[in-house]
């Protein structure tokens, strides 16, 4: 039946173009700029004004059936939010067309329109109205919203006195009780503590089960995989993949593997870093070769080349390994107490210069999956300093048949270590 129903959203060739101005120019113009600009243009009429076109989104076509949950994934700046903004009519597309059959509510940000001076109670009504709820609807759900947010005691306190956790809980709670036919959600679950996030995801799952149509942006691949049956992957404003959500996720995560196992920067200026260190290169090396595709039964070396920019500072180097759902698999740092080897430079004041640190991950430890590596370098012992956010480099571990001689199906788990097992006969007896 569902295959015969008409799509609730049909996007056809949607695109959004921005005109980029010169860097020094502010986003808004002043009258003076405009007048000066016009005068200049009159003078140099021959030379056409140079404005660069930038397509934040282009050729986006898809259909969503009523009740479908569609995940939208992609790197930052890929156009995900722009797409939701177009569908929620906040901004107009530059080309293309979309048809929507149903009441749309968009949640691009938690707590839009919250006013710090107003109390929790007042903000529930205000925010509800902003999100498109009727007054009667808000009143009906008021108690539920308050209970979900766990802020009963502070209902008549101005929200400016709320802790950030309470603020976010209240804001999400209002949004979670929306009942539109179509819900557009940007990355809003990345807020609050882990427990509340879990609660939010649970609530989202409930909403999804009520047969509502949801478009959901997230960097949390686990949430996408759990909630969405379909996903589209946007890459630089284009549709890179559309289809089954698991397939979309694995394609998206392994996309980085194209980088041939090495991310390198030629000069300090353009390389990622801070005032203490800059990264020169990160490599994945296995069996002596640099490659983003490694075999499961080979040791993997993660090689980090970096510049120390400050004379005499100690440096600690670490990695975070993430799985394809972007959850951290492990953290490893060359702190002496966390190192199997003795690293002679760990914690020692270092002269300026180029260094290389290598971390070895044993063979038969990771599963056959895609992983990404974050690099952190700090000059203090007790702080992790991220160098370039999530995922400096990606690699994929491939099956060799090792560990599959007895059991040939897929192994569950983000790691697949070979551990020591032993069995002994304790008592040979008939029971």
């Amino acid at each position: 039946m569902s295959s015969e129903t008409e799509p609730i959203i049909r996007a056809n060739g949607l695109g959004k173009k921005y005109l980029l101005r010169h860097q020094s120019r502010p986003r808004y113009e002043t009258l003076r700029d405009m007048l000066a600009g016009n005068a200049k243009r009159l003078l140099q009429k021959a030379t056409a004004p140079k404005r660069e076109e930038f397509w934040a989104l282009r050729d986006i076509s898809f259909e969503v059936k009523p009740g479908d949950k569609l995940g939208i994934i992609g790197r930052n700046g890929a156009g995900k939010t722009t797409l939701l903004k177009i569908l929620s009519r906040i901004t107009e597309p530059s080309e293309g067309r979309a048809e929507i059959r149903g009441r749309v509510a968009s949640l691009l940000e938690v707590g839009t329109g919250f006013h710090p001076e107003l109390t929790g109670r007042e903000n529930i009504f205000l925010n509800g109205a902003i999100l498109g709820m009727r007054r009667a609807e808000i009143r009906r759900k008021f108690d539920e919203i308050v209970a979900f947010a766990e802020v009963e005691k502070f209902l008549d306190t101005p929200v400016k006195r709320y802790s950030s956790g309470m603020y976010v809980r209240l804001a999400f709670s209002v949004a979670a009780h929306l009942e539109p036919e179509i819900l557009l959600i940007d990355e809003v679950l990345a807020v609050g503590d882990a427990e509340f996030q879990k609660k939010c995801l649970g609530k989202m799952g409930d909403v999804a089960k009520q047969g509502r149509t949801i478009l959901f942006i997230s960097h949390n691949m686990g949430a996408i995989a759990n909630l969405c049956s379909h996903a589209i992957w946007l890459d630089k404003g284009k549709m890179a993949f559309s289809g089954n959500s698991h397939e979309a996720i694995s394609k998206y995560v392994s996309q980085g593997a194209k980088s041939q196992g090495e991310m390198a920067w030629t000069d300090i200026e353009s390389s990622p870093g801070n005032e203490n260190v800059h990264i020169k290169a990160v490599r994945i090396r296995s069996a002596g070769e640099v490659s983003a595709n490694v075999l499961i039964d080979k040791e993997i070396e993660i090689e980090i080349d970096y510049w120390n920019l400050k004379q005499g500072q100690p440096l600690y180097v670490g990695i975070q390994l993430r799985d394809k759902l972007n959850s951290i698999v492990f953290v490893s740092v060359n702190w002496p107490s966390a190192n199997l080897l003795k690293d002679e430079w760990a914690g020692k004041p270092r002269p300026k210069g180029l260094y290389r640190s290598t971390c070895k991950i044993p063979a038969n430890f990771l599963n056959n999956e895609g992983y990404s590596v974050d690099v952190g370098i700090a000059n203090t012992r007790d702080e992790w300093q991220d160098i370039q956010g999530n995922g400096v480099i990606f690699f994929a571990v491939h099956e060799t048949g090792e560990m599959k001689k007895e059991y040939s199906k897929g192994w569950a788990g983000v790691v697949r270590p070979k551990f020591a097992w032993a069995t002994s006969l304790l008592d040979e007896d008939k029971l």
Partner: protein
Amino acid sequence: MAAASARTTPLLIIEAGKGRRQFFRDLWNYRELFLFLSWRDILVRYKQAVLGMAWSLLRPLLTIAVFSLVFGRLAKLPSAGIPYPVLVFAAMLPWQLFAGALGDSSNSLLGNTHLISKIYFPRLIIPVSSVMVNLLDFLISLALLLVLMAGYGYLPDARILFVPIFLLLALLLALGCGFWFSALNVKYRDFRYIVPFVVQFGLYISPVGFSSAVIPERWRLLYSLNPLVGIIDGFRWSLLRGKAEIYWAGFWLSLLLILLVFASGLIYFRRTERYFADVI
């Protein structure tokens, strides 16, 4: 089931360059948001101030005291037998409304950037709801004026029933200017500085501190190019027992200008609103 609900909900089409369709239906659908935003502005206005509502009284009262002293006592301008503070107050009502509404609506879009870039709703709601708080101030001031007039033993007659008409004109003018300035403000922040200047200047070129009867007859039509002249005359006429005459030729000119400003402001606002979220 799903198909049935799809049939009952109208089809929304988003298309490049087509602007906003179903504009009026959206205005109606979002009427509650309008009420909530007005309510928010009113709550916020009085929440932070210790004296709260007293401020909406104190400001005009001080101005009236100064004007009565300067124009009535020192310059001895004619008042046709009306107590000078009453004469000034009757004009201060529409002026205060206009100035407040203009100031608030001009800055309203910038003050609600976060809403505009994150939520869809008819943008017109923002400048219109921002003037509502001034309407409340107006009502408080009006009550105060009546008290003052009772004190002078000079109560208005049935002409007071015409006040809503002139009130509406003052609102239309303020909104018309507000549409222009708020939309222009989104792109050209200069208007943040222009508006306070216009307001300050306008107080002196409008007949607030004096009766417009002091303007020589041959200049009065020209003077009525300031649409506030017609509005203020109208307020004085309806509140002061018709003692302050309306100069009708000037009034019709003012009315025409008000409608022109309102209509053009509305059109400009509607034409530019679709890029608000992109440039704000």
